[in-house]
Symmetry: C2
Subunit: 295 residues, 2 copies
């Protein structure tokens, strides 16, 4: 059987946000059980940048994602999925696999770390990752309100209009990040900002925060003092988080999301706690995501 | 523009054997001029084998081929081609890109090393590589006869029938390799044999030999004493040939095909000389081959 080729649209047609969350929950369980191999990324220099290969494998097969750092060109990623016998089952061409696995993992994090009665999502950031995260959160919590902030009025309005069509709840663009943070039960930071996009004091007890951007002190979208406001800090890959020396939260405090999913680490312990998910993109999960679309 | 996806059939529809030879001649010229980057292969372990990434780049762009060594499964290779700005131009899924670039390079070797008046091709081996090599030789020499030997009667008959349809000359299956070698102006060995498939004494003056199989002493399709029968030994990549310690020809005697193409090294110097091309599959050429199909 020839391999199946999936475009970004094909992935969305085959995987709902809830499907992506379920696939990433299974991948995180496999990782916690030691069944997800994810060796370090391989970088091969080409001209002004690198080709980067992220390999992953488990008992259901193996594969890789390849992307380039030469230029910021949309749609230039490829994820290939092989069966355990070496047959190429299929591949996804485009950026959606990487976004869907990130939002799928984000959905798992919210499901295990946010309060069960969380109804208000705050979104800092307005682009594809932010929108996909909102859909994943809506797949695991019964949202009644989403508030979006971006410093660019057009961006936040466009994002709110888009999410209003996709989500079954009220969506509003806000021109001030402070109420977005203060009123959030779940706060998703999905920006490319290298300086803090909110103040830690704005966080209310019981909030869950997910951060997608860089987590290095001094170049993070998170406040420098976030650690002192957080009761539980979780990441999808401790090994990958440790690759960043000066982390916004001490590495020693970080718990792995897979262990929370597996129940060997505690998740949220109090309705008042502030939880933080530091998303790093556990290697190997792109392959699991595309495989779920092929199954 | 979304990337173009090419199947094995698409490659054949877009590239004639002569086109493949021309594309590989350009790639070898670029290599000789120092414009083809081909860093060492990257191997990443997955279960019972590896994922292997071969990266190549030049002024027209970059890319990679990925294949797996877990199982011998047809069609499980992927070659991706990026533009210089990082855009994914397209990709080829299947085994044909690897075969076409190998036969394209083989055609360049024959064009520069075989006698101009070569008319008889001897083929030891009957599978896809052998057939594609025959088409490439026919693209650079005016053949009037092809003789095929394989120890398996069905295989050699099937190959001869197939080539008879594709080539504009007489094609015959032979049940004895000796006359195939003795009568050959160009002899192509394209077997997976790990012991010699002919005797060096059978080679007549003026013959050109191309070998695709392993070139390590003791596990080669070539006679152990081939070196003493050869006047000129050429390879497509000295660096890759050097990775094999006990080579059938001393590394010091090997000349690079790119330099012969560029004219900085001599090719055939006498109609009586025996020339040998040790094909190793210069890295980066798969990318150039698929790019030629995209152009």
């Amino acid at each position: 059987m020839p391999p199946t080729i999936l475009t970004d649209d094909d992935l969305d047609a085959r995987l709902s946000p809830a499907d992506a969350v379920a696939a990433m929950e299974r991948a995180l369980e496999a990782y916690a059980a030691g069944d997800l191999q994810a060796p370090p990324r391989e970088y091969v220099s080409v001209g002004d940048g690198d080709l980067v290969f992220t390999v992953g494998g488990d008992s259901e097969g193996f594969g890789f994602r390849a992307y380039q750092t030469v230029g910021a060109v949309a749609g230039s990623q490829v994820t290939c999925v092989f069966a355990p016998d070496g047959a190429l089952r299929g591949l996804a061409v485009g950026d959606r696999a990487g976004i869907l696995r990130t939002s799928g993992i984000g959905g798992v994090a919210v499901d295990h770390l946010a309060r069960d009665d969380a109804t208000t999502l705050g979104l800092l950031g307005s682009w594809r990752h932010a929108r996909s995260q909102a859909e994943a959160v809506a797949a695991v919590r019964d949202l009644d309100r989403v508030q979006v902030f971006s410093p660019n009025p057009d961006h936040r309005t466009d994002c709110a209009t888009d999410l209003d069509e996709r989500l079954d709840c009220a969506v509003e663009a806000r021109d001030d990040p402070e109420p977005v943070v203060r009123e959030a039960d779940v706060l998703v930071c999905a920006t490319d900002a290298t300086s803090p996009v909110f103040e830690a004091d704005w966080l209310q007890p019981g909030t869950h925060v997910s951060s997608l951007g860089p987590k290095e002190v001094g170049v993070s979208e998170l406040p420098a003092d976030i650690a002192s406001h957080v009761d539980l800090a979780v990441t999808d890959s401790l090994a990958q988080a440790r690759a960043t020396d000066e982390y916004v939260v001490d590495h020693g405090r970080l718990v792995e999301l897979g262990d929370v999913v597996a129940g060997t680490q505690s998740g949220r312990e109090s309705a008042d706690h502030v939880t933080l998910f530091c998303s790093v993109g556990l290697a190997g999960t792109e392959v699991a995501l595309v495989r779920a679309a092929l199954d």
